[in-house]
């Protein structure tokens, strides 16, 4: 009999594969395809070519000198994933998985989306490569992110509003899993974060690690030394793993993930899974989960649709337990303060998700002082959030 130790895809006690039997074959095929692809020079060349000529990589590094004064004078370096095609880091993973989809000979992709960024990126890649595309999106998020819904439709994707449960990202994932169980023979589930069953946390990390690979070189070229800390916002945790990955071996570099604190952890209305959750199984992986005493998932709350998720990638759970990464919580109000400051000081409107990391830098910069260098993954741009921000700040549209 097999034991837990025989299984690939574990991060300490976290990760693994908790899925219906009908999906095991597809996950095995995906794992095999990914492993082969990552050691195939032809695949890697095609990925690099698309990154350079379609996504717009490498993304630049911006020294945010004006914003710095709100961060105790620390040097603030922004890794500009917002400048990627489609406006966020999500495209990195999508292009990689789309190439895997082609390699597996599948013609249909499905995806879940919260803020709509992953849905837009998936619809984009599907248009480019000629796949049929269905995006599942919670009804609540369809309302919050109507601009991205329109973008997906323009790109030729079908957007299915999900009306079950909390009508957000969690339920969109459930619905995508049900579609996949039913149509697995010709369909690839293009999962958008480092959560879910093995091999997704590994695949998504691999395709996003380009962020940290570039950023580490860029910071070294600029400063001649590594940053003191690397910050990123955490929902499922894909942009954070992407920028953390290359720095994990650099013991002197602090890695800090900023979770969505909603109204504050103490109110129970938040999405801070690591800071406020317990170990459990959700969406096929063992990780930290917001759950009650019966093992029922508790609904998360955040102003940011992309962070509004009651689970987190298993590798983050592992990095937390190891003490290699730190996880802090940022409330809606704090994130919106940082959102406004970056917009006014630097002329960069960030995604509300990203604003959580920016607020983290405002706190950390004051702790570390002006000699410190803080690298932030500016994971997405805020165009999609204009309505939410206008409502928050009382701007009439």
């Amino acid at each position: 009999m097999l034991t837990d130790q025989d299984i690939a895809g574990k991060f300490g006690q976290f990760g693994g594969r908790f899925v219906p039997e009908a999906l095991i074959g597809a996950l095995d095929e995906l794992e095999r395809t990914h492993n082969e692809a990552m050691s195939d020079p032809v695949f890697l060349a095609e990925l690099a070519h698309l990154n350079a000529t379609y996504v717009g990589r490498p993304s630049i590094l911006t020294d945010a000198k004006n914003f710095s004064k709100h961060c105790g004078g620390a040097q603030i370096l922004l890794k500009r994933e917002d400048l990627n095609h489609t406006g966020s880091h999500k495209i990195n993973n999508v292009i990689g998985q789309a190439l895997l989809t082609k390699r597996m000979g599948k013609k249909r992709v499905i995806a879940e989306t919260g803020a709509g960024q992953h849905g837009v990126a998936t619809a984009t890649a599907a248009a480019l490569m000629g796949f049929d595309c269905v995006v599942y999106m919670g009804e609540e998020d369809v309302r919050r992110q109507s601009l991205n819904v329109a973008r997906m439709k323009l790109l030729g994707a079908q957007v299915v509003p999900v009306t079950s449960g909390s009508r957000t990202l969690k339920d969109a994932i459930n619905e995508a899993m049900r579609d996949w169980v039913t149509n697995v023979a010709d369909t690839h589930y293009l999962l958008g974060t480092v959560a879910g069953p093995h091999p997704f946390p590994t695949i998504v990390r691999d395709f996003h690690s380009v962020i940290g690979n570039e950023a580490r070189e860029q910071v070294l070229a600029l400063n001649g030394k590594l940053p003191d800390a690397v910050l990123a916002c955490i929902g499922g945790g894909s942009n954070a793993i992407g920028i953390f990955n290359r720095f994990i071996g650099d013991a002197g570099v602090r890695l800090i993930g900023l979770e969505a604190g909603g109204d504050g952890i103490e109110t129970g209305r938040h999405a801070s899974t690591i800071s406020g959750g317990t170990v459990g199984v959700l969406h096929g992986t063992r990780t930290y989960v917001l759950q009650d005493e019966n093992g029922q998932t508790v609904e998360s709350h955040s102003i940011s649709a992309g962070l509004d998720y009651p689970g987190v990638g298993p590798e983050h759970a592992y990095l937390h337990d190891l003490g290699r990464a730190e996880y802090r919580s940022v409330t809606d109000a704090e994130a919106m303060e940082a959102f406004a400051l970056l917009s006014k000081e630097e002329g960069i409107i960030p995604a509300i998700e990203t604003a959580h990391a920016l607020y983290g830098a405002m706190v950390l910069g004051k702790e570390l002082g002006r000699d410190a260098t803080i690298l932030i993954n500016l994971s997405g741009r805020g165009d999609k959030d204009v309505q939410t921000a206008a409502a928050w700040f009382g701007i009439e549209l």
Partner: protein, 266 residues
């Protein structure tokens, strides 16, 4: 344990009677605690041979809209593991083999050992775990064995030959063969893919095989009974409850009566 449980005796008895066993599924606490017990008892009166009580979970990825709705109703009406334990006690007291179907996280949260101990003490004979692949089941298999609980896993049409051996050799009580690729309640031509899968399992295992997913009426039950040892029906019972709010017990009894004729028409 095998051979001593009521579940194993049931499959022996059905073989002697040249028929398939009818296994009926309903969620615990649906539509509420007291009615749930009455309705499950009506299902037994109608001719169900074994009962599969589902624990309503917030993220049921293997379930279609009908069972999702039922789970939501039960959760809104306050179902808990403790209340599910009370239902198991009431139902197993009728003498019918009583099983639990639950996603893994509620067991993990309750504590697998405490769960096995508490529920087997109240007469639960087996657990179906639809999202616990055999690779993740090491601890559970040992715990179930220690507490004389049947561990029942699902095999799917997509399960490869090597894997089929691994999964079925760890099943006890029966093997749950998913009739098709899909979630519960989907309407498909059940018989073709199911009979192929059952044939493949027969070649490598002597454990009884029950077919589930998409069986909803007498004709389908009869078709499946021709090649399987058990027929599992869920969504049809849930639908009967949802569509007959004034007298769900009678509606469920009628569905069970029809199906129990089906499993005898081989």
């Amino acid at each position: 344990m095998a051979g001593q449980s009521k579940l194993s005796e049931l499959f022996i008895k059905c073989k002697l009677e040249n028929r398939a066993a009818l296994i009926g599924y309903l969620p615990a606490g649906f539509p509420n605690q007291s009615d749930s017990i009455k309705i499950i008892k009506a299902m037994i009166e109608g001719g169900v041979d074994a009962v599969e009580i589902g624990f309503p979970y917030s993220d049921p990825v293997m379930d279609g809209p009908v069972i999702q709705e039922a789970a939501e109703v039960a959760r809104n009406n306050g179902i808990t593991m403790a209340k599910t334990l009370d239902i198991v006690k009431e139902i197993s007291a009728t003498g019918v083999p009583t099983l639990l179907m639950t996603y893994w996280n509620p067991i993990e949260k309750y504590g697998p050992e405490k769960f096995a101990h508490d529920f087997s003490a109240e007469g639960m004979e087996g657990v179906i775990t639809p999202d616990l692949p055999i690779e993740e089941a090491g601890v559970w298999l040992a715990t179930a064995k220690e507490n004389s609980i049947h561990s029942i896993f699902v095999v799917a049409p997509s399960t490869g030959d090597g894997r089929l051996k691994d999964v079925t050799s760890n099943c006890s009580g029966f093997i749950y063969a998913a009739s098709s690729m899909g979630v519960t309640g989907t309407q498909t031509n059940v018989a073709n893919t199911a009979s192929t899968l059952v044939e493949r399992v027969r070649k490598i295992s002597d454990t009884p095989i029950a077919v589930g997913l998409g069986v909803s009426n007498r004709a389908q039950a009869s078709e499946v009974a021709k090649f399987a040892d058990g027929v599992i029906v869920g969504s049809a019972f849930v639908k009967a409850v949802l569509q007959n709010p004034s007298d769900p017990a009678t509606a469920v009894r009628k569905v069970a009566e029809e199906l129990s004729l089906g499993v005898r028409e081989r």
